[in-house]
């Protein structure tokens, strides 16, 4: 245990995200913090975690110090159980073999919708972002964990563009749009852990990270936050978690 902040924002993001995974799960992980956090979980309490990558990989064990620069690089296949086409690995989500999708996010709104496509009007965007990749497919087809940096411009009431659907306009709107399965489960930031209300599907704070106040979270959020009745505090990263994480990313490619 540690009680001084001897970790970076990316490190607590990776550690808290990895704790959301359960041994035996099948997780579809994006590149960066998700890949790192899933690999961390695999090395700690979830040796039976099966990691899928968009490039067409089932059941990888990424090597420490050899983190892939994308989920389409050969490093993703290290000690994999199976290599298959990229469309086929996405179809596993559609059929339902995947327990949880795990992605980063550029911009999120109160219903967990993610934008990674456009800032401003899509027809004449201020900024053209990279786009969905598999993000739209993953978030359409399974339960999602999102790990992202907490900034006011990233936590907005309504995203400029729904790239990866959360609960769309809340309530039953997701299912009514033709997405009966999945949806946002958790959002992890360096400040807090979020869940979603079972009924109105709005985001709410489940737990504050060590040393973080309600005000700090609210000040960094672009809309009024709801705090759970049983608001908790997350356990800080342990020495073991941090040491393992740093062993996995010795060049600090993703942990900053």
């Amino acid at each position: 245990m540690t009680d001084t902040r001897n970790y970076t924002a990316s490190e607590i993001l990776a550690v808290l995200s990895s704790r959301q995974l359960t041994d035996g799960q099948v997780v579809f992980a994006g590149v960066g913090i998700p890949l790192l956090a899933a690999t961390l979980a695999q090395r700690l309490d979830c040796p039976g975690l099966t990691i899928l990558f968009e490039g067409g990989v089932v059941g990888a064990f990424v090597e420490p110090g050899k983190l892939p620069p994308s989920t389409n690089d050969q490093r993703c296949t290290k000690r994999a159980n199976m290599v298959l086409g990229s469309a086929d690995v996405l179809l596993l989500l559609q059929r339902g073999y995947v327990d949880v999708g795990f992605m980063g996010g550029a911009q999120i709104d109160q219903f967990g919708n993610l934008n990674s496509s456009f800032i401003g009007d899509p027809a004449h965007p201020k900024t053209r972002l990279p786009g969905t990749g598999g993000g739209n497919d993953i978030s359409s087809l399974t339960n999602m964990i999102v790990a992202m940096k907490h900034e006011k411009r990233r936590f907005v009431e309504q995203v400029d563009f729904i790239t990866s659907p959360g609960f769309i306009r809340g309530g039953r709107s997701r299912a009514e749009s033709g997405l009966p399965m999945g949806g946002m489960f958790r959002v992890i930031t360096e400040l807090a852990v979020f869940g979603f209300d079972d009924t109105d599907r709005r985001i709410k704070v489940l737990a504050l990270n060590p040393g973080v106040s309600r005000e700090e979270v609210q000040d960094n959020t672009g809309f009024d936050l709801t705090f759970d009745d049983q608001l908790g505090t997350t356990e800080p990263p342990t020495e073991k978690e941090l040491a393992t994480l740093r062993m996995l990313d010795p060049e600090r490619l993703f942990i900053g």
Partner: protein, 320 residues
């Protein structure tokens, strides 16, 4: 009915005119890119920084080909180069940046935000199902993603239906049959029977879907060698119109089991072009694309040190 889906009879007629017989089709890069015409739709194999048919893109840029409409599952610096060189003004893909290590591509941003070029966004699975429909010879495939999102909203080319069996909402994505596919593989024979190791991405569907296929390969092997491992053949020769042997044909990107990305070169490239996506891009193209006398001279500019180090890492995927 405004649609980009090619009518079946037309697709079949194009295919029936191709010489699909068993014949050697080994040629040079210069000869191979003659299969691409200005204005063609071009499907690009591999994904992101992996098995990118970079030598073919390099040659197309040297050829100063124009108005290509390109597609790829995920596009990386090859997209920059296609836009930056003026070879392409339209790309359909699911993700367009240089790589997550480098953030946004200023080249893509400059070209798209200025209105000079179009980036049409589809989900990754949608791109896969579009190539697959094309390869199957059907006009669409049904999917259950994109629904409810703005990605669907800005893609009227896809059509929602209520399933005639279950009543469920589905999205039909239109077949994509590029005029030409560019694909890089680890090995193939002189006929074009291609074997791909490791990640396949969407290359099999793309090869079947395209009206012409140009293959580059790390090495050309005998047909006997292909026949000893027919399980590993992923593209049959009758899909293929040209075969070019180009060692390091994906450089500075990766070729599974042969070399990893050449990241020092990539880093320098990104630093250069993101500062000035027009002028610095022109400088880069001049130095690495237009000036070298040959592909091997281009590799020389990337440098022996980096090529060998990428190869060492590439082969290591097979190490215990």
């Amino acid at each position: 009915m405004t649609t980009g889906v090619e009518p079946y009879v037309q697709l079949r007629e194009k295919l029936s005119k191709r010489d699909r017989s068993l014949r050697e089709k080994v040629m040079s890069l210069e000869e191979a890119t003659k299969f691409v015409r200005d204005g063609d739709t071009v499907g690009i194999g591999g994904s992101t920084m992996s098995r990118t048919p970079m030598a073919l893109i390099w040659q197309l840029i040297r050829d100063r080909r124009k108005e290509l409409s390109c597609s790829r599952c995920i596009i990386s610096t090859d997209g920059d180069l296609l836009f930056g060189s003026g070879v392409s003004n339209h790309i359909e893909t699911s993700w367009f940046a240089q790589g997550i290590l480098w953030g946004l591509s200023k080249v893509m941003r400059h070209n798209v935000e200025s209105g000079g070029a179009r980036y049409d966004e589809w989900s990754h699975m949608a791109m896969g199902m579009r190539y697959r429909a094309g390869g199957m010879g059907v006009p669409f495939l049904p999917i259950r993603s994109m629904l409810g999102s703005d990605v669907e909203r800005i893609r009227p080319e896809a059509k929602e239906i209520d399933c005639p069996f279950t009543g469920e909402r589905l999205l039909l994505v239109p077949a994509l049959n590029p005029e030409v596919a560019l694909i890089h593989v680890q090995r193939c024979d002189a006929y074009g029977n291609a074997q791909v190791d490791g990640l396949q991405f969407m290359d099999i569907d793309l090869a079947l879907a395209a009206n012409r296929v140009i293959l580059t390969t790390e090495r050309i092997v005998s047909n006997d060698q292909i026949r000893r491992a027919p399980d590993q053949t992923k593209i049959p020769f009758f899909c293929v119109d040209a075969v070019v042997e180009v060692p390091y044909g994906s450089a500075p990107h990766e070729c599974f089991g042969v070399y990893e990305p050449m990241l020092a070169h990539m880093d320098a490239y990104v630093r250069q072009v993101n500062k000035d996506p027009v002028g610095a891009m022109q400088d880069y193209l001049e130095k690495y694309f237009y000036e070298p006398a040959s592909w091997n001279k281009y590799l020389e500019l990337i440098g022996m040190e980096e090529v060998l180090e990428a190869s060492r890492r590439g082969r290591s995927i097979y190490n215990d």
